[in-house]
């Protein structure tokens, strides 16, 4: 037990490892991923789409498993699975109740299929778990370019659509009345989520996507209501968790999942505590 703990917190080799080229690529990938996740997370939280992101990630896993079985690129399968899932979930609109049950139904089916396809797959078993837990050190320069391209698309789309997206996400009824194309924006946002999720899955795994695409936004929303501050904080939290997680996982040589989830969870708990001690007592409304 002590040995295991000692291994998990043994960072003596970290400094040397940081100079390796593949580690640098992994850190860059983590940083880019953190930027995308941090930018999207507040909108995901505002739209109440945490479960949809989870479903998208799991169906991206299904797509990857199908691609593995079919003998085509796993990354491509993951992208196709995630895009289909996110657009379908996005089209379900903002009616949370209905959407959540549909996601639950589709997610369970997709996950079952994915597990079945992995079981039928005859190749190396390491590939099987790669999709669930991810492997950021496996990110090569091609993937890094893909990630950066995706980041550029996300940033570009947010520069153009941020205001109507925020309006449609936080206040859909009035946004629609003011002529904001709420449905079209749902699809735009779904595509952004699908792209980001699909690229995140091979790097950090389907399990971790929820941690990096939702928790930073949920944490930031606890300490501020200024949309700009919330977005900046969410990017900061995502970067701390992802880059920090990669660095911490290097020397022990274990998957980054545990470190990333722990770091982002600490951010969340910290934010809740700050909010609790800072918030003034509830006021009475003026008559």
């Amino acid at each position: 037990m002590i040995e295991i703990l000692a291994r998990l917190f043994d960072f003596s080799g970290t400094g040397a490892l940081l100079h390796l080229p593949f580690v640098r690529t992994a850190l860059l990938a983590a940083a880019v991923l953190g930027l995308i996740a941090g930018l999207l997370a507040p909108l995901i939280v505002t739209r109440g789409m945490a479960f949809a992101v989870h479903g998208t990630a799991e169906l991206s896993f299904t797509g990857g498993a199908a691609a593995l079985l079919a003998g085509v690129s796993v990354g491509l399968g993951a992208v196709v699975g995630a895009l289909i899932a996110s657009v379908v979930f996005g089209l379900l609109g903002l009616r949370h109740r209905e959407r959540d049950s549909v996601i639950g139904v589709v997610l369970a089916f997709g996950l079952g299929l994915g597990v079945l396809m992995l079981a039928l797959y005859q190749g190396r078993t390491a590939n099987k778990f790669g999709l669930l837990t991810g492997s950021i050190v496996s990110v090569d320069s091609t993937n890094l370019w893909l990630l950066s391209g995706c980041a550029a698309v996300v940033i570009g789309a947010l520069l153009v659509y941020y205001r109507p997206l925020l309006f449609a996400s936080a206040d859909p009824e009035v946004a629609a009345a003011r002529g904001v194309p709420v449905r079209m924006l749902s699809i735009v946002f779904a595509v952004l989520i699908g792209l980001s999720t699909a690229l995140a899955v091979p790097a950090v795994g389907a399990i971790l996507v929820l941690a990096v695409m939702v928790t930073p936004g949920a944490a930031a929303a606890r300490v501020s209501s200024n949309p700009v501050v919330v977005t900046v904080l969410a990017v900061l939290f995502a970067e701390v968790a992802l880059v920090g997680g990669v660095v911490l996982s290097l020397a022990p040589g274990v998957p980054i999942s545990g470190y990333v989830t722990t770091l982002i969870f600490l951010c969340y708990v910290g934010c809740r505590l700050v909010a609790r001690f800072r918030r003034p007592p509830a006021r009475l409304a003026p008559a």
Binding site: Y161, P164, F167, A170, V174, R178, S224, S225, P286, A287
Partner: protein, 291 residues
């Protein structure tokens, strides 16, 4: 005496497509419906509806659930097509870009996690429909002015989700007015507010229409909170409707005819009590009375 349909003569010149849509232009109605028909499958919500609302006019839209009040608002917002007839807002087809419509929804709880302060909610009413990212001093001044106008300066930086229902509805008024609308569409904006806040919100709306000649279409279950402000009433019941002043429409005779059952309208001091006018098999008393 009221007749089915409009009690005002229509001006055929006004409201034609192509006429300029400035609210100040004389003769151009803020809202004009002609022979409007709305059918959902077999069911006709209303037919032959003629309604002209002039700038600065306050029209209350009343009727039981399912009579097509909200559907009428959706038509005016350009979210639904009429089954027949024409609709013009400021002389133009509704729903176009740059339409100057303000919209006040009914109060609903906002989630605490929604990352909006009071001023952000109002700001979205100003430019939330525009693309790109712009912020400037004039924008901030406009939002500040709108907040001050409804007395919301004190909680301008509070999260929207932590405000009371009354505070939120004041922000809704500011959000709708900051875009300088020529027509204000209100969908049950007083629902779930206490009497004091009902008065505050309806007075804010009334001030706007007297100061800036904004036409107001006010959908409500309950006419009493706005009775002193109402110029005319559109009362919709099961495919039938009446347009006229409150004195003309809110009578036992007219409502009994609309509901096709005995309905009594009693005047108790400055309030109207309607007895027997809920949908078939419904309550005896109009909902919301005496709240």
């Amino acid at each position: 005496m009221t007749a089915v349909g409009s009690v005002r003569p229509d001006h055929p010149r006004a409201g034609q497509p192509g006429s300029t849509g400035s609210p100040a232009a004389p003769g151009v109605p803020a809202v004009q419906l002609r022979g409007a028909r709305m059918a959902l499958g077999e069911r006709v919500l209303w037919d032959g509806l003629d309604l002209r609302v002039d700038p600065g006019e306050f029209v209350a839209v009343l009727g039981p659930n399912g009579s097509g009040k909200t559907t009428l608002l959706k038509v005016l917002l350009g979210q639904r097509e009429l089954s027949g007839g024409t609709v013009r807002i400021d002389g133009r087809a509704p729903g176009g870009r740059g339409s100057r419509i303000g919209y006040i929804p009914q109060q609903r709880a906002m989630d605490v996690e929604v990352p909006l302060r009071a001023r952000d909610l109002v700001g979205l009413g100003l430019d939330g429909h525009r693309l790109g990212i712009r912020a400037g001093r004039s924008r901030r001044a406009q939002v500040d002015a709108a907040l001050a106008e409804v007395g919301a300066t004190e909680y301008a930086n509070m999260p929207v989700g932590r405000l009371s229902g009354g505070e939120q509805q004041r922000l809704r008024v500011a959000q709708a007015l900051v875009g300088e609308p020529s027509v204000l569409l209100c969908d049950e904006p007083l629902l779930s507010l206490d009497l004091a806040n009902q008065r505050v919100v309806s007075e804010l709306i009334d001030r706007r229409r007297t100061e800036a000649a904004t036409a107001v279409l006010f959908v409500t279950h309950e006419i009493n909170p706005v009775l002193p402000l109402v110029d005319r009433v559109l009362y919709l019941v099961n495919g039938q409707f009446r347009v006229g002043t409150a004195e003309e429409v809110m009578t036992s005779e007219v409502l009994s005819e609309l509901y096709r059952t005995q309905v009594d309208v009693l005047r108790v001091r400055d309030r109207l009590v309607v007895v027997g006018a809920e949908a078939p098999g419904g309550d005896d008393v109009h909902p919301g009375h005496g709240s």
